[in-house]
Structure formats: C-alpha cells, structure tokens
Symmetry: C2
Subunit: 301 residues, 2 copies
C-alpha cells in the first residue's frame, strides 16, 4: 500500500571516533525513505534549498521512492546539522544547526499523494505535523515521531496531534518527559490514554518496547552489532523499516507490528555500520532477511 | 545437582519513592539463595555477626537451602548497607556502608560442601573469590560476579580469577571499565579472551546479553513490569534464578544457559515488586512459570 513520509532533508557533517563525514546526505525523510523502500513504495514529502548538492534521482535509483513531493526551493538554503559522537557512540553533541528551509512554510503534499494509506510524520513541530495530516484524505495508519523540544514548548499542539494518530514513536527520555513516569510500561500506558492505538518507545542500543491499547506488550532488543561507525539516522531508518513493512503487508495488527519492529531494528543495524547512507545503499533484501532470522534465533529460548 | 553460593549477608535500610524498609535482610548470598531455591538445593556460605537479628531457619523454611555454611561470628558485627533510590528507580546513592564481618577472614567452606558441582562466587575481592574456590574439589561450573572497585584496584587478582571460572557476570558499565570497549558485544569478546567460557552482561531494566566462546549470542530484554518498589537484590536474584536452573538441569550448554537467563530475569522481576524478600517469599513456582511463558510470548515475532 502507499506509504507517505514527511520529514527533513539535511546536509550533515558527522564526526565519530571512526572518522568524519562532511556535507553528506541526511535528514529524517531521507533515512526513512531508503529504509522503507526495501518493503514498500514510498512517497517523500520534504524540502531542500537551492544549495542542495545531492542528486536524489541517483540516490534512490532503482528504488520505489516517488520524489514528486520533494521540493527544491529556490532562494532557500538546505537544513544543516553538524554533530560529534563521543567514544561510547551514544552521547552526541550538536555542533551546529541551521534550520534554513525547515523554518519556512512546509512543502505542500502533492494531490497525487492525498490518498496515502500509511503515513509517517517525522519529527517536527506538532502544529506542522497536524497541518500535513490535514492535507490527506483518510489514511489507514498515521504514526508520528516527536522530541523533547515539542514536549517542553508545544505540549498543547502535541496533545492535539496525539488524538489524531494511530501510533507514537518516541525515545525513553522523551516518554519520561511527556508523562513524568520513569517506568516505560507505565509511561506507555499513560500515553495511550492520550489517544494513540499504540506507543513504541525506542531505547537505542537497548532495543524497543511496544505497548498497545489492548494491553499487548512486545519487547525487542536491538540487533547486537559490534561494528558501529555512525548512529545518525538509526531512529528514522528503524521507523522506515517498520512502516515500510506495515505498508507492504497492509496490516498493523499486533503480530504484524512485532515483525515490523524486528525489520526496523535490523535495517537500523545495517545503517549504523557506515556513515550516512553508505551501508544501507549497498544492502540487499537478503542481508535484511538474514539478520532478521539471526535476531529471531538470538532471542529464542 | 549441588549448588554452592558464597556471598554477603546484610542488614539493609532501603529508601525508595515508595517507602523505607529499615534493617531488613539483604546481602547477595541471601537474595541468591532464595531465588535459586525454586530450582535446586542451595548451599549457603556466608558470615553474619552476633548482632544479626534474623532467623535464617524461618526465612528459608520449607526451602532446600542448607545453612551449614552460614557462620554467626561472635564478637563480630553484620555487614550493613543503607541506600536511597532516585525517582527513576535506577540511580541510587549509598548512604552508609559498614563492612564489619566482610572485612574479616571469610567463612570456611564446610567439608560437606567441597563436592559442589555448581558454584556462584558473589561479588567480593577476587583474591577472596579465588581462596573460596580453592577449597572446592572439582566444580563443574563456577560463575563469578565482580564490580568496579576490583576492576580498578585488584585487576591482577581479577585476571587470575578469570582464568579459573566458567562464567563471568557483570553489568554494562563494568564491562566497559574492564575492557575500554563501549560496544557490549565487543567487550564480551574481549573478556572471553581472558578465560571464561561465557560472559553475561547485565543491563538492568534493559535486560542482559550472553556471549559464549563459541560466538553464540543471546539477547534478553528484562521482563517489563510496571510495579517496581525496590530494585535491591535484582542482580543477585537474577544470578540465583539462573544458577539454580542450571544446577537443576545439570547442564550449561547454550540452550540451557538461555533458558536459565529467562528464569533469572523473571525471578528478579518478582523480587523488585516489594522491599527485601517480601514478594519473592510469597511467590510460587507457578508465578515464575507464568511470567516465563509471558516473557517468551512477549519476545516472539
């Protein structure tokens, strides 16, 4: 089924203990689209500026990623992010953020995208997420990501958003911030009371937790990989793998959600093995399926 | 098969956001023994002082816990620990430590325990762990716990210990400290090079990771419970459930190790639902088996 993502397109400079990747392609919509494209056609809504050096046709060549919703806005500059990861590869400091085109009016959703069934609203101001959502006809499942900034500063909009989506994806510190509950099962239950059908709490290298409004609980460790070079985009590629699988299956019942999370973690485990999109771009569906089966075996007792 | 534990017996005062438990029974050998006793007979080696207010016969009444190795040393005082947990129930501050009898000569291993097949050396100075080990005939599996203090101050003894044990149990920050490797799969591999057949890295609420010398990997999330009142003893009861199961099965191949870890996490999940031993003392094997099956279902995809 049709899967739409709205999110950022970025020019990133990333430093990790393994090197520096300068002015490489990044942004939530990019990571999401590449990850999701293994499972389902993707429609990308996002904006870049006229300084954007990337050839998107080439980046997504041979993949079912529709770029009609990708706006190259003249007179604007592309979102830029510079970050440095600590030796532990978990803590990172942001060295520079230039919102640029992200601070302007969001791109419009093309008319041909309005019938999208599956929608992922990557992290941005909840008012913008709602505005994008309002341009769609009747999606079957809308999942949104959020962050501390909006929980702190745009809580009212965020609560409104929560009434209008099927799933919320956020990390553990954000779940604590939103609810004040440091127990993740408890925090998830409180968020479910605010509207969504399911809440997915990401814990980075510690995996993820899914809780549904039917009190179904799924716990998933991250695929344990020794080879981590650049964690940038892990969360967005996790979401991409997950939503791609759901759209491909055209279902989001509990059993399908669980499988989709496993695909998400596996895709993310490949992504982080190299800078930017490098590793995931050379991965095949067979690499993904092999790790999926390995993860399943590693969790069996 | 026979399972021996050597560890501490403590008088604890624990404060959590849910209340205070004053002068309650604690200590690694106590938590371990109660947890293990669901699966196997246990032989307890530990020392308390003459101030010890607990009736150990009553505490372990009806359970296969042999107390011949429990020494009540006259003229000595019992180990005391006071701790306070933060609201998140993960961070804790130690308010008071009185080593008392733990700073004296360790208790002797009774002659009748020397043929023990399974041995758990709870956390103490590695030289003492080796000394205790040397009193045993030919154990089939020895597993030891350790901590930052010994990694920092008694590294040579610890490295000697590692050559003489089958399994090491430690938490993620200790694995990082011991190896300098923040990737837990990598850290485990480095520890395996130091001697043990397997390394089990505990990540608290994030579960545990097992890596064996045969490159087998098992990842286990913690049983997700919303009802956490006092995490004290979680690690030792995890080890108790695990070692009890291994001794009960009289095997420690990979498949059995995986199951043993699941039992360990389930026993720990019960323990932390109340202060001290309160919850685990009223648990039955059926409570454990129910959660074991639930955990298995929660991880299935």
């Amino acid at each position: 089924m049709s899967l739409l993502v709205t999110g950022s397109i970025g020019i990133d400079t990333v430093k990790t203990p393994f090197g520096t990747s300068e002015d490489c392609i990044g942004g939530s919509a990019i990571y999401f689209s590449l990850a999701a494209s293994f499972f389902s056609p993707v429609r990308l809504v996002g904006a870049a500026g006229e300084d954007c050096p990337f050839d998107f046709q080439q980046i997504f060549e041979g993949r079912p990623v529709d770029l009609e919703g990708l706006e190259l806005r003249s007179g604007s500059k592309t979102f830029r992010w510079h970050g440095t990861y600590a030796d532990n590869m978990n803590d990172r400091t942001t060295d520079l953020v230039e919102l640029n085109v992200l601070a302007e009016a969001p791109p419009a959703v093309p008319a041909s995208y309005r019938d999208s069934s599956y929608v992922f609203l990557a992290n941005t101001a909840p008012a913008l997420q709602l505005e994008l959502l309002n341009q769609l006809d009747a999606p079957k499942l809308v999942v949104a990501d959020t962050m501390d900034l909006w929980i702190n500063n745009e809580k009212k909009d965020l609560l409104e958003l929560l009434k209008n989506i099927g799933g919320l994806v956020l990390n553990d510190s954000e779940a604590l911030l939103l609810t004040g509950n440091s127990n993740m099962v408890g925090a998830a239950s409180e968020i479910l009371d605010l509207g969504p059908e399911f809440v997915l709490i990401k814990k980075g290298e510690h995996g993820a937790l899914l809780v549904t409004g039917k009190n179904e609980v799924f716990v998933l460790p991250a695929y344990p990989t020794e080879n981590v070079k650049d964690p940038t985009g892990a969360g967005d590629s996790f979401a991409g793998g997950m939503m791609g699988y759901l759209a491909g299956e055209n279902r989001h019942d509990f059993e399908t959600l669980k499988k989709s999370m496993a695909y998400g973690t596996v895709v993310a485990s490949l992504l982080i093995e190299d800078f930017s999109l490098n590793r995931l771009q050379i991965a095949g569906r067979s690499d993904i399926d092999r790790r999926y089966n390995e993860l399943q075996a590693m969790m069996q007792f």
